[in-house]
Symmetry: C2
DNA sequence: ACCTGAACACCGTTCAAGT
DNA sequence: ACCTGAACACCGTTCAAGT
């Protein structure tokens, strides 16, 4: 999987060949297919692996510094991955997951995991009065994830690698969206 | 191009073969390559063609009914495309555009066109007091586009085809984001 | 000038043979 | 049991030959 990540980073999902991944990993094609059933399966496994990597860091930050600073930290992390050239990889993951149910299913599971962690932080922040109590925690979480991914994809599309600007854009949206209303 | 759209709809960008597109269009491979320099070029041309199709409808609605109802109308339009199965096509367009500059360049041009039209509507709405005057029109536009695309992609990923729920989700975000602050 | 379609190059996947 | 890598099937692209 490390070998695949290296190849996908270098050349993108569709440009990277199985032969390259085999060479990088030092195994034969047959051996690779013993562990992954297809190329799509590899990207699925990678995505699953990366997901939730930052969940723990986010949870800690949310308790110490408040909700908005914590999601902005997570957002910076996410945008930095795009700036480093993983933008097309993430778009590929989306496109494979949307097309291929076999790829999507494990991803939906780990996504649901992240959503759950996020939701708990939203509820805690609502009790502290940081987030409008009228908002449904699950809808808030889904919307914030969608906004984060949308901003990242759009920035990659526009070749805009200014991470700080992306974080500011996300923060401005999040602050106004979450702000308690009388 | 109509033939290509039919094939991509049916089987997705990567599954559809050039031979199928040729058959559907009733031309030979050589003839196709006279008009499009590659498969990626076809999807680029399609995306360019679709963009801005709804810009005019949006502009009219924005003047008659106010900004938020008008973008919700545009959003419904967009989400309906996803529900009809164009979700993976849009993800593919993103992924090709992010990878391949030759695909991205014409798309960025027509995207900039849409952004300009949107921005004018934002400014008008700010003068009518519908949108907070402190928000920068270009940032607002980019953020709303990102949120729209992000919500659409996430819904496609989750296989959630409830268009009305998606529109409500987008409206809730837009209302709070745009709302004037004292 | 424009088109045809067989041929080419390439790549994901398999499977008979090896250890 | 597990691995190897040649072979297979398939598909995007080209170009010599045709009109």
């Amino acid at each position: 999987m490390d070998a695949a990540v290296a190849c996908f980073r270098r050349r993108g999902f569709h440009q990277a060949t199985m032969a390259e991944i085999c060479a990088e990993a030092g195994v034969s094609a047959g051996a690779l297919y013993r562990y992954f059933s297809s190329k799509a399966d590899i990207i699925g496994a990678i995505a699953e692996d990366k997901r939730g990597e930052s969940d723990q860091a986010f949870l800690r930050a949310a308790e110490e510094e408040g909700f908005v600073p914590a999601i902005c930290l997570a957002a910076r992390d996410f945008f930095e991955k795009f700036a480093e050239g993983d933008g097309s990889l993430i778009a590929d993951i989306f496109s494979e997951a949307i097309r291929d149910d076999a790829v999507a299913e494990p991803l939906r599971k780990s996504d649901a995991q992240s959503v759950k962690i996020f939701m708990r932080a939203v509820e805690a922040a609502q009790q502290r009065g940081e987030i409008d109590a009228n908002l449904a925690p699950e809808a808030v979480t889904d919307t914030l994830f969608a906004a984060l991914e949308g901003i990242g994809l759009r920035r990659a599309f526009r070749r805009d690698i200014n991470t700080e600007a992306a974080v500011s854009q996300f923060r401005a949206l999040a602050e106004r969206f979450l702000e308690p209303h009388k």
